[in-house]
């Protein structure tokens, strides 16, 4: 796909000049922090003082730390629940809004609105929906479905579920746009031919549309898996600074911030958890890539 124009830059350094700002930023705020995180993770550095080399002590500590396992479990659970929802529901939504019917532009934009809203605003809106005196509990009590309010935000597991609902709700419109682009490339003539052969819409969806958007499904799966591992704000806004009762709903990014910053911040230990989060992310990106490569064969 490289468009080689055959044109040469006037001088050898022109492209570097054009790239310089980008390269400086990437080096300072991406490459170096990564290298530095690896280094820090092997030291006992704290926020106010540098540390000495301690080898893999921080990693050993993480594996023996119940907080680490709670956070890892929460992050992985988050991913396992949220990813299938975000692979299939936005596809259904895209199919729904794909056809040009009057007013469809309005619906597309409306479904995209939660994407525009910040995680904090979305958190505030859903906090009000899910609070013990919030909309859902009030309606449920008026209809006598429940006598005690459902502890959406005050029970660790429920808090995680609430955050997942928020993530899915906010992600629907985002991935819908991905699928709209993919659906635009699904050949109309194939559909027409299949329709002539008597295939119904459901049949055509599964035997024509799905195979053609499968690469996009894998991409959406990978992207949503990576973003599921990054969840922080939803938990923070819905559950507060401690991450639910006893920190029971903390995710890995949540733990990293708690451990690494503040007056007693243990940057070395936080760096080790950061690297473990990175490795977890890497596993899922490679998995996504492997799946899509296998698909091409």
């Amino acid at each position: 796909m490289e468009a080689e124009t055959g044109l040469r830059h006037r001088t050898w350094w022109t492209p570097y000049l054009f790239l310089a700002p980008g390269l400086v930023m990437v080096t300072m705020f991406s490459l170096w922090p990564f290298v530095n995180t690896v280094i820090l993770s092997l030291t006992d550095a704290q926020i106010l003082r540098g540390g000495g080399f301690v080898g893999f002590d921080n990693y050993a500590r993480a594996f023996g730390d119940p907080d680490f396992w709670v956070a890892t479990g929460n992050s992985v659970l988050y991913l396992v629940v949220v990813v299938p929802c975000l692979v299939f529901l936005p596809l259904a939504l895209a199919v729904l809004v794909q056809r040009e019917v009057p007013g469809i532009g309005f619906f597309r934009s409306a479904f995209y609105t939660p994407v525009i809203a910040s995680a904090v605003v979305v958190g505030l809106i859903w906090q009000w929906v899910l609070r013990s005196d919030g909309l859902v509990n009030t309606v449920f009590r008026k209809l006598s479905i429940v006598s005690e309010p459902i502890p959406f935000l005050t029970d660790s597991t429920m808090l995680l579920v609430s955050a997942m609902i928020v993530t899915v709700w906010k992600g629907l419109g985002y991935y819908m746009v991905f699928y709209l682009a993919a659906l635009g490339n699904v050949s109309a003539s194939l559909h027409e031919a299949a329709a002539l052969d008597g295939a119904g819409p459901v049949r055509r969806f599964f035997s024509i549309t799905v195979p053609q958007v499968k690469p996009m499904m894998l991409l959406v799966g990978t992207l949503s898996a990576i973003s599921a591992l990054r969840v922080f704000t939803e938990i923070y806004i819905l559950g507060g600074e401690s991450g639910g009762p006893g920190g029971g709903a903390r995710t890995l990014p949540f733990l990293i911030r708690q451990v690494g910053l503040g007056f007693a911040g243990e940057t070395g230990y936080a760096a080790a958890i950061s690297i473990l989060l990175f490795l977890l992310t890497l596993v899922f990106s490679l998995l996504g890539r492997r799946l899509s490569k296998g698909d091409e064969r």
Binding site: G6, H9, R99, F107, I116, V120, V121, Q127, H191
Partner: protein, 275 residues
């Protein structure tokens, strides 16, 4: 060129669309309605407020320095838009056209950095910002996002789609590199530039975790950080005020988006897929 379609009946389609509209917009609309309810009115009394009022917006502005937070956020957002537009376009241009030594290597390194989740480098980024003496400054909030690799890639793929003939014609006319960049390539990639513009503005406006790490003094808080205090005070605070705060952060974004949405959906197509 009609897209393939599914005939589930127009009525059924609209019914499903309306149902989804309630799911997607319902919570936002209800929050908006709550934000204009009078102080004496029960929040759950009927769907529409009996006496709509803007009183809660005044009260939220009184309870914390809303305008100052908006100003701080705008500062960061406008810096981010300017730097991303300029630097991403420049970087994308260098990566898209004529081959040069090391292009492949630079490209690979840039793509590789996309694999580092921000959360796994944020502690170290914070230490860098602290060493630069930029903790608790808006510059410190802006700088790490001054140009994103993703935006460079968006610009690159938009420039790749510019026909070679257009560039060759410009060369024959004697246009230098910078002239070709500004006169030929930038105008041809308006859609992608719009996408970079909107996404970097929204990214800066909506960001929470990084400002939370960098900013301490509430003087310098961005809007999202300011809103956090509303979330923390749920048990005592008035839902109407929280709603007004949330709407004050959301409505400008929605206006911006609806004004530019045509550009946006078109630009997404420009950058993502070429047939």
């Amino acid at each position: 060129m009609r897209a393939p379609s599914f005939r589930i009946g127009l009525a059924g389609r609209y019914a499903t669309l309306l149902l989804m509209l309630v799911v997607m917009l319902g919570p936002i609309v209800w929050q908006f309605l709550t934000s204009i309810r009078g102080r004496t009115e029960n929040v759950y009394d009927g769907v529409l407020p009996a006496r709509p009022t803007l009183d809660n917006y005044v009260r939220v502005a009184e309870s914390f320095p809303l305008l100052q937070y908006v100003g701080n956020t705008l500062t960061v957002a406008l810096l981010a838009v300017t730097s991303n537009l300029l630097f991403a376009a420049m970087g994308g241009y260098a990566l898209s056209r004529a081959a040069w030594k090391g292009r492949r290597a630079v490209f690979t390194v840039l793509v590789a950095t996309l694999m580092f989740p921000f959360e796994s480098v944020m502690i170290s980024m914070f230490l860098t910002i602290r060493e630069m003496g930029l903790v608790d400054t808006l510059i410190g909030v802006w700088l790490p996002g001054a140009v994103s690799v993703l935006n460079i890639m968006i610009m690159r793929s938009a420039f790749l789609a510019v026909p070679a003939e257009l560039e060759e014609a410009a060369v024959l006319d004697g246009a230098g590199e910078w002239t070709r960049f500004t006169r030929v390539f930038l105008p041809a990639a308006k859609g992608a530039l719009a996408v970079v513009c909107i996404t970097s503005f929204m990214g800066a406006w909506d960001d929470f975790l990084w400002p939370l790490l960098v900013l301490t003094d509430s003087e310098n808080h961005t809007l999202q950080l300011g809103l956090k205090t509303l979330a923390g005070a749920t048990t005592v605070s008035d839902q109407r005020i929280i709603a007004a705060g949330a709407m004050a952060a959301l409505i400008p974004m929605m206006l911006l988006f609806f004004a530019l949405q045509r550009f946006f959906f078109k630009g997404v197509g420009d950058g993502a897929v070429k047939t």
